[in-house]
């Protein structure tokens, strides 16, 4: 039926290969157009392949086998095409196509223009491998490949040392997470004897006991925390902003960083069998609040968005941790739209401001860049949770799930509310700082609206940010019905029943959002002195936020520096001095023993002859005495 679904991966992969070898010859903008077409083709295929799920109720999808990889451990290259995979594939290819299109304009004039699209296409193929993989090994394959693409794209401008360092940091921190994921996989294999989804999820209740399930869940959480930038492994994401802005939009906002959420949702049965879910939710909540507070005081336009992404991913973790898988995926989708829009918008601003990223040097851009300003305004309202925009529906569903969970859930709900307030605050602050007030541009900067290829994706994403919420409102649960077959084996958590309850919770959260937005609007729509007085009111707290709580310094002092010291001690003292010193010592001992005995070798044949005869005599005498006569 949907055998052709492998084309979803094949198109971008073919694009990457083609652009890798011919990119330079194709040149600009042809290389970009080919890349965009490859992404769009994947979207079309994914859409066609997803139609059966819409038409037939309760269609579980199927597994499409491509070829054998490591069959001994149930790891083949195979695709599981079910509603969950379809939703993810549509988000990835859809947002991906728009970002490809945007990049044609954004990367204009870059000497490695074609190479950029090679990497973007490769990323799409990898991400699709991740979400379509039919076994954990293939998910891990995609998981690592997106890490590779992230590495390549963050350090795309590798002549900048900070970019190269950021790429490496991202990969290494991700690898720490992968360690957990990998050990989790080993545990899965040890229990199930296979890594194939088909042999695992249905057998969870009969095979896994609670503690093993919890252990696997926690190990998966380590992996997910690495990829989805959660506490304590989130530190790579802000640095990842060194990459070109479309990369930040595609990889570090819309798609790759949501892989952790996807992983938890995909392994729902395992999480349901143990108690790891609540830990996931708590980690998510803490991250949400922590990152949001840092975002308040950032002045780099992209760093605000980076911390905001970390924070929003925390929301998704709350949802999937508490069993609200559909709520989590829903927020994943809406977030992909509005956060991609925000990033692309910020890219448009940066582009128009001649690579300026400091919001203190912006202001009053709305007139110069109306499309960017308006679309970013829409996205700001969406992420702030103002109805009826997309963010409102998905965020409310998550908060509802937390509230309904009760107990700890109430605490998480409160944290979520506070985070919502803060989110509304810093996003509104950003919008006002960038688009209103007096121009604070540097000399010679002449802001201008971006070309059509960049504004069209903004507009499309703005429409989606407005309308996507209606895919799953309490009145019409379209997405929920669509996804249901993928979560049949678990009990999916829902917000409280009933419209009254919905209205009450919605009112509270919208109130928080409006309060935050209003506060920011009140302060940041006015001259700079007012902001500074306001910020000064927080005292040291503001500086702590600005410095991101100095977590990087902390890690540097506790892990990186001692680690390097240890490595140096091992390499130069222990290995070269200790072990090899011992080896060379043995060598020296042999040599000096030789030096002492060498004097016996006079080189005179007579002396040797005497020794010879003496030995002979000794043997003869010994034979005569001991041998009893010859």
């Amino acid at each position: 039926m949907t055998d052709f679904v492998w084309l979803v991966i094949a198109f971008p992969l073919a694009g990457a290969v083609l652009l890798h070898f011919l990119g330079r010859r194709l040149g600009e903008p042809l290389a970009g157009i080919i890349g965009t077409l490859a992404a769009a083709a994947a979207f079309v295929v994914a859409f066609v392949a997803a139609l059966p799920f819409i038409v037939e109720e309760g269609n579980h999808g199927e597994t499409v086998m491509l070829w054998e990889w490591m069959p001994a451990i149930g790891a083949n290259l195979e695709i599981t095409w079910d509603p969950l995979a379809a939703v993810m594939a549509l988000i990835v290819t859809g947002v991906g196509s728009l970002i490809h299109l945007f990049s044609v304009g954004y990367m204009h004039g870059d000497e490695r223009f074609a190479r950029f699209f090679t990497y973007l296409n490769l990323f799409l193929a990898s991400m699709l491998t991740l979400v379509l993989g039919g076994n954990f090994a293939m998910v891990f394959l995609g998981w690592e490949l997106v890490g590779l693409c992230s590495y390549l794209l963050i350090s795309f401008w590798y002549t900048k040392p900070s970019a190269a360092a950021a790429g490496k940091k991202a990969f290494v921190v991700n690898r720490i997470g992968d360690f957990g994921f990998m050990v989790g996989l080993m545990l899965v294999f040890t229990n199930f004897g296979t890594l194939a989804f088909d042999g695992i999820f249905e057998r969870v209740p009969e095979i896994l006991d609670g503690s093993t399930a919890t252990a696997i869940g926690l190990l998966f959480l380590v992996g997910a925390a690495g990829k989805s930038a959660q506490i304590p492994l989130y530190v790579w994401l802000p640095d990842a902003m060194e990459g070109p802005t479309p990369v930040s939009a595609l990889i570090h906002a819309a798609t790759m960083v949501t892989a952790g959420v996807y992983l938890v949702a995909r392994s729902a049965t395992i999480f349901a069998a143990g108690d790891a879910g609540i830990v996931v939710a708590v980690v998510g909540a803490l991250t949400a609040l922590w990152a949001a507070s840092i975002a308040i005081a950032q002045s780099d336009i992209k760093r605000v968005l980076a911390y905001s992404t970390v924070s929003q991913l925390g929301y998704m973790f709350i949802a999937v941790g508490l069993g609200g898988y559909i709520a989590g995926i829903f927020h994943l989708m809406t977030h992909a739209f509005f956060k991609a829009l925000l990033f692309l918008g910020s890219g448009s601003v940066i582009h128009g401001m001649h690579e300026e990223q400091d919001m203190n040097k912006m202001g009053g851009l709305l007139e110069k860049m109306p499309v960017t300003g308006v679309t970013m305004g829409i996205a700001t309202l969406a992420i702030a949770g103002i109805p009826p925009l997309a963010g409102f529906w998905s965020k409310d569903e998550i908060l509802g799930v937390a509230f309904e969970y009760g107990g700890v859930g109430i605490v998480l709900w409160v944290i979520g509310l506070v985070t919502a307030l803060i989110t509304a605050f810093y996003m509104t602050r950003q919008w006002f700082m960038v688009f209103t007030g007096e121009p604070r541009w540097e000399e010679g900067v002449d802001p201008h609206e971006s070309p059509r290829s960049m504004t069209v994706p903004l507009i499309v994403l703005a429409v989606l940010s407005v309308g996507a919420g209606f895919l799953n409102t309490p009145f019409r649960l379209t997405l929920e019905h669509f996804l249901e077959p993928s979560f049949e084996l678990v009990k999916v958590a829902h917000p409280p029943e009933g419209l009254g309850m919905f209205a009450l919770l919605a009112a509270i959260s919208v109130g928080a959002g409006i309060a935050g937005a209003a506060m920011a609007g009140f302060v940041y729509s006015r001259p700079r002195e007012i902001w500074e007085r306001f910020q000064g009111g927080f005292g040291g707290l503001w500086e702590a936020w600005q410095a991101a709580y100095r977590v990087d310094d902390l890690y540097g002092a506790t892990i990186v520096t001692p680690g390097r010291k240890l490595s140096e001690r091992m390499a130069f003292d222990f290995d070269a001095g200790g072990i090899d010193g011992f080896v060379n010592g043995v060598g020296r001992a042999v040599r000096s023993a030789g030096a002492r005995t060498r004097v016996l070798q006079t080189g005179l044949v007579r002396n040797y002859g005497v020794g010879f005869v003496a030995g002979l005599l000794a043997v003869v005498i010994w034979l005569v005495i001991a041998g009893g006569g010859v």
Binding site: E144, V183, F189, G193, V583
Partner: protein, 510 residues
């Protein structure tokens, strides 16, 4: 067939030796061309090799010295097949990479070809005496390759290499002779035949001592911590071709020996020694990686990474599960490809800049984009990025060792983080940033010959990464048989998920 595989390189060496001495420039092309003959033979073997058959194939046996039970006994199975293929692939590449050797070229080619004969002989020998002869014969050409064509401290490195290995060989020889003597006692005639010796009835003490004797020889060759210090020196001093063959194939004599001889001959001792072997393997994995991080010399860094990677192979051997064995066998091949490629690349930059110090470089990606791309590709293969070959072996080893030795497997998995750190940090310092040193700005990118050297390796890394079936199919039956052997001869029971029923169809396990 197998005899030809050993004789052809030896004959080729003679042919090169007989070339007129006033036509020095002929030696390398002729040697290179002749090295394709073993490649063709091995290629034929590889595809004619019957999958799903556990025993030795293409066997040949001729009595050599009957009173001692020595025979010219050759055979190939899934465990050795990949290594033979690896040897014949790397030899032409190593030769073609040696165009900068202008001094005594003829001897160099001769030694390389003799090395090939010795390596292949070691992998094919089913007679312990014969194995020992080849095992030792390999030493001589390598000693000269390091000692004559190496860099400044070559004599020291060659000596160290030789003495270390010879030290281990002494134990190996003693143990082999002891086995033959035991055979004489039990069956009335000495024998060096592996299959006959497997039926010996040894006391636990005997088998433990002999296990240790074999083990020390192979552990030095691998090398297993703490017997590894000859390796960095040998690599740093060896010429490029020497490093490629040393890391690519020669170290595998150790891991191969452990799998082939230690497990087959002394299963109970092996089962008892699992904690020791696995412990040393894990120490090697972590230790090699930690030490690699701060190495100032690119070649030394790769050398220590070898210590780390080979730890995975040893761990897979100690796992005593199907996936562990398969991972170990396939990782043998993978490590040969990736590390061989890394040494080639380091050699290429060394020929241009005459330095291997990381701090002397910087920003090379700008001036040598193709070189940077190939280096990064190989680095990721070495890190174990899924989709490339390194992952398949490492992942199988980890997955395979978890059911039997979970603690060791978990610690070993930590090595994957460290691998990313040392290779990517080195890449960052060598390739990124702005090329600010004037010597670096003038560098030229790889030429067609150098790219040609890398292409086969890169293709193999991709193919084995995405379609390892071509190797796994051929190894499965042999590794299963080995596992059967261990399980039947000892009290050891393979844990529930350590045995993969559907590894290969046919050939019932029990």
């Amino acid at each position: 067939m197998l005899t030809a595989l050993i004789l052809v390189p030896a004959v080729a060496a003679v042919v090169v030796m007989l070339l007129p001495s006033d036509r020095k420039e002929l030696a390398l092309p002729v040697g290179f061309a002749l090295s394709f003959v073993p490649l063709a033979i091995a290629g034929y073997l590889f595809f004619e090799f019957e999958t799903g058959v556990a025993g030795y194939q293409f066997t040949q046996k001729a009595v050599w010295y009957e009173p001692w039970g020595i025979s010219w006994n050759l055979g190939v199975d899934g465990i050795s097949l990949g290594l033979v293929a690896l040897s014949v692939i790397l030899i032409p590449i190593a030769l073609a990479a040696s165009t900068t050797i202008t001094d005594r070229t003829k001897e160099f080619v001769v030694f390389t070809l003799l090395l090939e004969a010795g390596l292949i002989g070691s992998f094919l020998a089913l007679d312990l005496f014969l194995f020992f002869v080849f095992f030792e014969a390999v030493l001589v050409p390598m000693y000269f390759i390091i000692g004559i064509w190496g860099s400044e401290r070559r004599i020291y490195a060659a000596m160290k290499f030789f003495i270390f290995t010879a030290f281990g060989s002494a134990f190996l020889l003693a143990s082999i002779v002891a086995l033959s003597v035991f055979h004489n006692r039990q069956f009335g005639s000495p024998s060096f035949d592996l299959l006959e010796l497997m039926s010996l009835d040894l006391t636990l003490d005997q088998s433990r001592w002999l296990f240790a004797g074999f083990g020390i020889a192979f552990a030095i060759k691998v090398p297993v911590f703490p017997l590894h210090t000859w390796l960095p020196d040998a690599h740093v001093q060896a010429p490029t071709a020497g490093s490629v063959l040393l890391a690519g194939v020669m170290l595998k004599l150790g891991t191969y020996g452990l799998l082939r001889f230690n497990l087959n001959l002394f299963p109970q001792a092996a089962v008892d020694a699992v904690p020791i072997i696995a412990g040393l393997a894990v120490i090697g994995i972590i230790y090699g990686a930690v030490v690699a991080i701060v190495q100032p010399d690119l070649k030394k860094l790769v050398a220590y990474s070898s210590v780390s990677h080979l730890g995975f192979i040893v761990l897979g051997t100690a796992a005593l599960t199907s996936a562990g064995f398969q991972g170990a066998v396939i990782q043998n091949v993978n490590h040969g490809l990736t590390t061989g490629a890394l040494f080639l690349l380091v050699g290429m930059i060394y020929e241009r800049r005459h330095t291997k110090k990381i701090e002397d470089f910087g920003g090379l990606a700008k001036v040598m984009p193709i070189f940077a791309g190939l280096f990064l590709f190989t680095a990721f293969a070495s890190i174990g990025l899924p989709g490339l070959n390194g992952f398949v072996g490492e992942f199988l080893v980890l997955i395979g060792s978890f059911p039997s030795i979970p603690v060791f497997a978990t610690i070993a998995a930590f090595g994957v983080i460290l691998a990313a750190i040392y290779l990517l940090w080195a890449y960052e310092r060598v390739f990124t940033g702005i090329p600010d040193k004037p010597e670096n700005q003038k560098l030229t990118d790889l030429n067609a010959r150098e790219i040609g050297l890398m292409v086969p390796l890169v293709v193999l890394m991709l193919v084995l990464g995405l379609y390892p079936k071509i190797l796994l199919d051929r190894t499965a039956a042999s590794t299963e048989a080995l596992l059967d052997r261990v399980e039947q001869a000892t009290t050891y029971e393979v844990p529930e998920q350590g045995r993969l029923a559907d590894v290969f169809a046919g050939e019932g396990d029990e």
